[in-house]
Amino acid sequence: MSKRIFITGIGMISAIGDDVDACLASLLEQRSGIGPITLLPTIHQGVLPIAEVKHSTSMLLDMAGHPGSRNYTRTALLGILAAREAVGNSGITETGEYRIGLVSASTVGGMDRSEQFYQSFVVDNRKGRLIDVVNHDCADATERIAADLGIDGYITTISTACSSSVNAMMHGSNLIKAGILDRVIVGGTDSVTRFTLNGFNTLMILDKRGCRPFDDDRAGLTLGEGAAYLVLESEEAVGRSQKQPLAEISGYSNANDAYHQTASSPDGKGAFLAMTKAIAMSGLSPSQIDYINVHGTGTQNNDLSEGIALERVFEQGVPRFSSTKGYTGHTLGAAGALEAVIAVLSIRNQVVFPNLNFSTPMKELHIKPVTELMTGVPLRHVLSNSFGFGGNNSSIIISSYI
């Protein structure tokens, strides 16, 4: 059974690019994907910024090769595009020799279409086109991606709010370690919907200026959309194909804050547990973590709780850290996978992408994020955090392949 988990392919679509290369270019140029709402039909246009993938759903259908089809939700299309790129990048082909699975995450599923359905359904429950609601659940995108990639082995969908896709990576890794799969495609996909935009708006945690993670004056998060997938393989599968992995997953952990349904605890207990247990699993000492891609949503509550947890875990030696949500927005169920792909890009290109929109350090903390692009930085181990509603806190460590 495999003790090590290798990343051999990555794929990503987000507000900063349609594929990994385009996203990398935006990150290097410090170009944010956050801007005025142009596609989502909402009364908040002109008021709240979001990080949209700048293609209408009909354009995404064209890009995915299903022009005019009514069977695909926006979430499924984003997922298909990113998962195809990851599989293409890894170069794997289905040989029947390997047990291959798909573990995908989502929080909104087909809500974009359910909103259309409900427009008529709330008036008369005999109305509304059924084709707009049959793809409502989160598993729909997973089964569409599986069909697109020709995967008929183990598949599942995870929904643990904003930590969903880190948990997908964790479950996929565990399935390889348990000898149940040889290869697994892991990741997550979420589109922006009126449901989520209004939901976060009722909580009064959307920053009208766009998110400013870890800034003292931060006023909330900015919603984004996108998808990211990674191909994970066992030692044996990589050994037999003589493939050079992109990176390695060396540790992960899932803990629960058990403090409040939505708010994080003042001492960051769940975040502290997730980070310390992930580091313990990797066998590293905290001082060996070279960079942290923080959850850093830009809400008062998250950044304070996460910052306190960082200072508890690393004490005086908090590593370089930044939030990349100023580029991609908060992509909810896709965020963990998006940030894992960004961590791989950081390691491969020896670069730390700076935190955008930062000006004043938080007065409660002794730390501040990286705000200038750093190049030529040897990064061996990167920690990535994803925390969510329901107290679901997860951390993962991605290491360079040696």
Partner: protein, 364 residues
């Protein structure tokens, strides 16, 4: 080896929670089977009962019933003030998540054109609310996961529980499944043709030839450990999921392969608990697969007790574990004469022909 050392169910069968087995069968005449209030007040703080969505109440109650039962089965308690064992991991499955809160926020948002909204139903609409609330009420900081894959959801949770236990990362897991039947969900799925149009008694479900099934709901949890006790219910041997097999022959081959990998001969499956739901097309699959692969096994059904829903196999697992523990086969569930022995039970279900699953239980 993995043992079921505690269980709890909130189901449309109110007498199933009494601890008596077999319980007194509750008859329904419509096409919707809902869970009566099992006495939420005993399990959930009063100020929270009103705010919580129904599936959250059902889930939390089933989890607490299970953890209290686990304290009896294992003889272990987490403290004098706490009747429940605090689990090291909480793993749940749900096909549809918190439908009541999702529909409420969605409908209000549409009706009010995105204005005058309050956050409560949005907060509770996330799929991980049941697992999160269990953790919150028990102050459980451990591993916490929610699987949301249609008819695989509960099986995914069980498989993860087995992986967690076998890897040694935890010594016990609370695993379960929950789904709720709301009026809007029933109305939409009725239009999709999921349910029988004319009422049918649930005691005569398989005698009715209309298309469709009866809708159901429920929450069921299990306390799983690697060590058994004298009071363990059953051994959880294996769990498998099969996506769109395409033919009954392929499903049968997969089933036999699973048994072989567990070193069990088909003749040693004493009872198949199958997901017969009254839909003729759906039920033919069970008949074909069982006739071809397990011709000697006795057969029981369970969906006339709980209705059809994505995580109904959690109830099937509860029902099977109770049969093993009490060595009694309720007459109201058997389609064949009862088995002579009770060594192994195979639960076989498919959800809308797409998600086929197998759960293998043995006497402890």
């Amino acid at each position: 080896m993995i043992f079921i050392n505690g269980l709890g169910a909130v189901s449309p069968q109110p007498n199933a929670g009494s601890g008596q087995f077999p319980f007194e069968f509750t008859k329904y005449d419509g096409n919707q089977l809902r869970c009566p209030d099992p006495g939420y007040k005993e399990f959930i703080p009063g100020d929270q009962i009103r705010r919580m969505g129904r599936v959250i109440k059902m889930g939390v109650t089933a989890a607490k019933l299970c953890l209290r039962d686990a304290a009896h089965v294992t003889g272990f308690t987490s403290g004098p003030e706490c009747p429940e064992i605090i689990p090291e991991a909480i793993i749940t499955g749900t096909g549809m998540g918190c439908m009541e809160d999702t529909e409420k926020f969605l409908a209000t948002m549409i009706r009010n054109n995105e204005e005058f909204l309050t956050p409560t139903s949005f907060i509770q609409s996330t799929h991980n609310t049941v697992a999160g609330q269990i953790a919150l009420l028990l102050k459980c900081h451990g591993y916490n996961f929610t699987y949301v894959h249609r008819g695989f959801s509960f099986e995914n949770a069980l498989l993860d529980a087995m992986v967690q236990l076998r890897s040694g990362s935890v010594s016990n897991v609370l695993a379960g499944g929950s789904d709720e039947l709301t009026p809007a969900y029933f109305s939409i799925t009725s239009r999709l043709g999921h349910w029988k149009r004319k009422p049918v008694g649930n005691d005569r479900l398989l005698e009715d030839h209309q298309r469709g099934s009866v809708a159901g709901e429920g929450a069921t949890f299990f306390f799983l450990q690697k060590e058994g006790t004298h009071n363990s219910y059953a051994r959880l041997r294996d769990v498998r999921t099969l996506l769109k097999p395409g033919s009954d022959e392929k499903t049968g081959r997969y089933l036999l392969q699973m048994l072989q990998e567990n070193e069990i001969a088909p003749a040693d499956i004493d009872l198949v608990v199958a997901g017969f739901n009254g839909d003729p097309g759906s039920d033919a699959i069970y008949r074909n697969v069982i006739a071809a692969s397990l011709p000697g096994s006795a057969i029981a059904l369970y969906k006339h007790l709980c209705g059809e829903y994505q995580t109904s196999t959690a109830f099937a697992t509860w029902f099977s574990a109770m049969m093993i523990r009490h060595r009694i086969f309720p007459e109201f569930a058997l389609l064949t004469p009862p088995p002579v022995n009770l060594r192994n039970i195979l639960i076989y279900n498919h959800y809308l022909h797409v998600n086929h699953t197998f759960i293998l239980l043995s006497a402890p």
